[in-house]
Amino acid sequence: MLVSLPEPPDVGDDVLVESARQGDYAAFETLVRRHQRRVYAVALGIVKNPAEAEEVAQETFLSAFEHLDGFRGEARFSTWLFRVASNHALMKLRKKKPEPWGDVTDLEPSLSRAQSRSEGTSPFDALSQWARRPDEAADANEVQDALSGALDALADDDRALLLMRSIAESSHEALAERFETTVPAIKSRLHRIRLQLRGLLDERLRGKPPP
């Protein structure tokens, strides 16, 4: 089992990339450690399958290693990395028949770590919390289930865009370039997706049939 070493503090990605490019493999491993959780999370949100999400993460970091020499430093490394991750994930998704997010047997080991702290919370408690203080309702089983369903209901590209913004923290400018559009158009699209996500969550928590 590999030992996880503490990450060097205050060493930017650009320094690590340059070291890795010059043959410092430990610098590359530091980049992997730094970004692997979010890369996996973005991939999982897009492909909706843990095994495939891990394949995407593998492919993404392998691409990063193989293309370090060609990396254009004018973009942030993380922006480039998450763009590669989302591309790999969307390509994988489009190669196969869509599967419902609710394939619980695939997700069960992961979801067991996200079990609600308040497993006795009734649907009405969760709903009233969602209506007034959604952050306090977050751990309720009903909200976690609603999140899964709402995410699955988004169009693939919309889901990818949302995850690039919320997990990868990509800028509007980077997203506009990635989706080949303008910054105002990306802002408008993100707003529409956020409204849709809020609406989907609300419908699921209130027990209305999804669209």
């Binding site: 089992m1 590999l2 996880s4 493999y25 590359f28 491993e29 992997v32 450690r33 692997q36 959780r37 979010r38 996996y40 999370a41 973005v42 999982l44 949100g45 843990p50 891990e54 993460a57 593998q58 970091f61 392998l62 290693f65 997700l107 080991p109 992961s110 979801l111 770590r113 996200a114 969602w130 209506a131 007034r132 203080r133 959604p134 952050d135 977050a138 909200v143 976690q144 999140l147 899964s148 709402a150 995410l151 949302l162 995850l163 913004r165 919320s166 997990i167 802002k187 408008s188 993100l190 707003h191 956020r194 409204l195 996500l197 809020r198 969550l201 609300d202």
Partner: protein, 83 residues
């Protein structure tokens, strides 16, 4: 704090939410939104849900990251890059 510009209604507030949460509104427009929400509980709840939803998605997916993913990834990469 800036003074509110023209008052906004609930529909107008929804249209401004994207720029509001991204801190892109002009100060007087932001003040108008704040003023409305201080007097409109449904809009305040709507804002909380609007802000919460993407954050909740993020937390939901990050919680699902396997604890041994890092080790498996590093082993895979070491093998594939012949290190």
């Amino acid at each position: 704090m800036s003074n509110p510009s023209r008052p906004v209604d609930c529909q107008q507030l929804v249209e401004l939410l994207g720029d509001y949460v991204d801190n892109q509104l002009a100060p007087d427009q932001r003040a108008s939104v704040d003023h409305h929400m201080n007097q409109c509980a449904p809009c305040m709840a709507f804002l909380r849900q609007y802000k919460f939803a993407p954050q909740a998605v993020r937390d939901h997916l990050l919680k699902a990251v396997p604890v041994d993913l890092e080790d498996r990834l590093l082993s895979f990469l070491k093998n594939r890059t012949k290190r």
